[in-house]
Symmetry: C2
Subunit: 323 residues, 2 copies
């Protein structure tokens, strides 16, 4: 546990450095941009993506600039802002979601501002390869979000389709943070390949755990309402695994809830019991652990170092976290 605590301390202090930088680039002559942007960016968050960039670049011999690290958080935040509009979410990280405090238009446009700011910061780096990776990533992310929308309410979704969505909407950005860390530090192709695998597997595991917690956590722990995914028509791994084994009667109930959309805590309890019966959460966490193992294995090409140890610990933390 000593190693984990040390990793978490480094994570926290690096997140603090990232937070300062996040504020620096938000300034605009248009006050509302700073307000909405800060609301989202100061609501906490682990800064997983910027920290992965910093640690991966340090792993390859030279920590990259904070001005690049924030790109990954801005892109992530832009996605969250547009998601808030899309989901009409009521809370996010325990605070009212941005679209509850401000109108949808402001939220859409500040998301656009953050996309534009990311693009600008990427260009400022002067690194063509960074730009290539990032531009391919943002395209895949947009496709992933549209795909998720297309798959809304599709209770017949299979594991491959689910994986396709989470890779595109979540994993590629986490992967980009890792690869670009390597690019900025001048890592060779072998190390870049390793970071590519590490980032992808981490990203998949991270989203799977998120999806498991929606059926396993409590609202207090998660800082956002649980049992939310099916309300939004998102069919995720715990449910896919469950539906593959459930009885006709149980499937009927899930279909009923999916149709209702805005079901209450009692109905969610019924749903949770079915998911528990077929070990939907356990299966999802096991699968996530398998991806974490692959992520850690990829780091074997690197010589031992504090950074390598932290990246290994961080991968474990992804599946042990409760929110």
């Amino acid at each position: 546990m000593g190693q984990t605590r040390k990793m978490l301390e480094t994570l926290e202090s690096d997140a603090e450095r990232v937070n300062a930088a996040l504020g620096d680039y938000l300034d605009s002559d248009v006050q509302l941009i700073g307000e909405v942007g800060r609301h989202l960016l100061l609501s906490g968050g682990k800064r997983l993506r910027p920290v992965l960039f910093l640690w991966c670049s340090a792993l390859c011999g030279q920590e990259g600039p904070l001005g690049v690290s924030v790109i990954f958080e801005y892109l992530h935040a832009a996605t969250l802002l547009h998601d808030d509009v899309i989901d009409n979410a009521g809370t996010r990280r325990g605070k009212p979601a941005a679209n509850v405090l401000w109108d949808n238009p402001a939220v859409v446009l500040v998301g656009d501002f953050l996309l534009a700011k990311s693009f600008w910061l990427a260009v400022q780096s002067g690194e063509m390869r960074l730009l290539e990776v990032l531009s391919a990533t943002t395209q895949t992310m947009a496709e992933g979000q549209v795909l998720e929308l297309v798959y809304t309410d599709r209770l017949d979704l299979n594991q491959d389709q689910y994986k396709q969505v989470i890779v595109a909407k979540t994993a590629v950005l986490i992967q980009a943070a890792c690869i670009i860390g390597g690019i900025i530090a001048g890592a060779g192709s072998e190390w870049e390949e390793a970071l590519k695998t590490y980032g992808l597997e981490m990203g998949i595991a991270f989203q799977m755990v998120d999806d498991a917690l929606d059926y396993a956590g409590t609202t207090d722990e998660m800082g956002k309402p649980v049992g939310y995914d099916l309300k939004e028509g998102k069919v995720t791994l715990p449910l896919i695994h469950t539906l593959a084994q459930a009885s006709k009667k149980e499937i009927k109930l899930v279909e009923k809830l999916a149709k209702m959309g805005d079901y209450g805590p009692d109905e969610f309890e019924d749903l949770r019991q079915i998911v528990e019966k077929y070990n939907g959460v356990g299966f999802t966490l096991d699968t996530a652990r398998e991806h974490v193992r692959r992520a850690q294995e990829a780091l074997e090409v690197f010589p031992e170092s504090k950074e390598r140890q932290n990246l290994i610990e961080l991968a474990d933390y992804v599946v042990t976290r409760r929110k």
Copy 2:
């Protein structure tokens, strides 16, 4: 008139070439993206921005690639898509607006896809200076749209604030198309400066004429409902000029309509009469003509050519067009 007709013919045939390229880059594994994207991109439109890029590059000695020209239309289209969500617009170019046919989420996300595609195409060009201009432009555009939102329903808006908005939300993209035309063709700094001025002044004039037509045109002519700007709380030059001279009673009426938002044709007729009394439309068109003159003047540094003549004619056309 022979010159104008020749220019319009070239405009049309170049727009056709742009249209083909616009379709080429829309393909995605996610079908919905192509559907929504094509809805907007095949609804017509003058392709002013891509054509300006092509003509300005040709003016500097070498026509730029179609793959770069489409960037400006994709960025414009992304803005329109997000605007549709923001304004809850019912029609656009005489066709139902995208958000009427599809849900807001799809429209927001396909807008994001087009932004990402623009970024990707820009990176493909391999031109760092293109990327610098474009990344600054997209940031300014996002700020401009937020600023327009902040200024919603502000009947005390002055001409400087109005100009600030139209430069940021419209003119900088038109300007970027012109400057990047020069960059791609390897124009020196004197020519780039000239294109910078031409593009900015063209962009300002273009938006001013749009704003004048909202008070002067008819729904049939414009392909979108007129009298719409005030309904959305957009306070534009014809109204600003009018309010500066109107009587207290007239101002009260305008305030009443602004508050109503969804006023009918009779109320709009009252509003139009006040704007006509103080020559709001005439003043706006005169101001636009002054900007067109400055745009044309900037082209004097270039030797005579077919392209220079077309760019001069196009500037005139901007203020004579009826839609």
